[in-house]
Amino acid sequence: MKILVPIKRVVDYNVKVRPLDDGSDVDLRNVKMSVNPFCEIAVEEAVRLKESGAASEVVVVSIGDGKAQEQIRAAMAMGADRGILIESDGALEPINVAKCLKAVYEKEQPGLVIMGKQSIDGDNNQTGQMLAALLGLAQGTFASKVEVEEGHVAVTREIDGGLQTLRLNTPAIITTDLRLNEPRFASLPNIMKAKKKPLETLSAEALGVELRKRTEVVSVSPPPQRQGGIKVASVEELVAKLKEEAKVI
């Protein structure tokens, strides 16, 4: 079984992003870029399934400019077998990304797609569900456990208030939550090996995907800052303040 893993190049999670002074966009000059953390978990899960014998090949795909090759190489250093870059400078909103991925899915015919539940830049949490809808496939979102069976996959999902387990017909789309696994660090020999793995470049146009603009960012701003209050000296004073000043108890 082949597993397709879509990944995204995003600002590293350690970078604190700020809006540009004119509020037109966030300041992405000279910031460190990485594989989106949820996507890394997806790569790890796919590689583990290959190591366990449940999968035969792991293909990573990313959409964006040429620089996303770095992230595809990083995923291959973790154990993915080959990469596909879909070059595009179009409007890469989730629905358009899902349409590109649908075209790749149809070309590759994987048995499973595993991808991050959301990217830490746009925080949309949409692409996996949209890809599943476009393909008419089942979706196992926010997965904390994945068990591959013959013709099915059992997915335990993190939902509000607990866990839910679903049994999905395969092929299916799975999106990863934080607790699914802990991604490995790529070793130096594997990083070197990844440089020799095949990486194919396609264009969104060649896939026949129209990237129409659907939304427009009007402005970005920092969130409202909350002002600190006072320090109280004792539990008695705290209770008095909560009762008389804040009136919350």
Binding site: D123, A132, D160, L166, V235, L238, L242, I249
Partner: protein, 310 residues
Amino acid sequence: MSVLIIAEHDGKSLKNSVSQCVTAARALADEVHVLVCGEGVTEVASAAATIDGVTRVLTADASHYAHQLAEEVAPVVTSLAKDYQYVLAAATTTGKNLIPRVAALLDVQPLSDVMAIESADTFKRPVYAGNVIATVKSLESLKVMTVRTTAFDAAGVSDTAAPVDTVDAAAPVNISQFVGEELAKSDRPELTAARVVVSGGRGLQNGENFQLLYDLADKLDAAVGASRAAVDAGYVPNDMQVGQTGKIVAPDLYIAVGISGAIQHLAGMKDSRVIVAINKDEDAPIFQIADYGLVADLFDAVPALTQQLS
């Protein structure tokens, strides 16, 4: 203008998030319809009909809606959506699972986590883990979105009930099956709906010490939460986590105990009305956003607080 809200419920009762969605919907349109999709949903539909501002309730009742799987629910929402300008659901795990599937079937780019409505087509939503707020204009003729419920007050209850109508169920899709659920059972209010939340962090030192927080919470009819550090350390289960990667809460009173105040935690609770921090480290960042800070050993202060409230 009209809005269709997809109701979240467990088959027996309606989630409070529906009332918050109604408030958001009322800012967009006068006609506010609520779709209750499930199996045996008469009672849930009656509850939805009495939310102030709801003008009509639709029910889609069929056995294949029993677990409200996205694969099954999406087609019925899609078939109704053409009559509306907006389709809304709460930005909960249920809403986030369903809404993008619905939107893709309608060829619409949805908006996630809407926290403010600027105009009929322009909305505010958090990006970059809440470090940046984006104002986004949707160019779609049908707007499909999830709403951050903590950003909207719950609508009240009306004396007169809106009419309840049945809509045809869509044909079963049958590509996914419900196997089981493990839901945390508790007599305390749900974290995201509680008026008071007491949360513990690494300072609690172990899971047993969370009993101190449960005792305090019982006096305040509060829910108990935790920081990611406490969850990662294995003190308490994951579903208690408040923060960017956990639950977003905005209660009237939030009491942070032994929590230093990492950005990821603050993102989940900074919209609370009143924040109290109890921490023995006076330099802890949590004090920078707390309305009332108490520098003290939590093992003395929390039992004392519990006793004072008795």
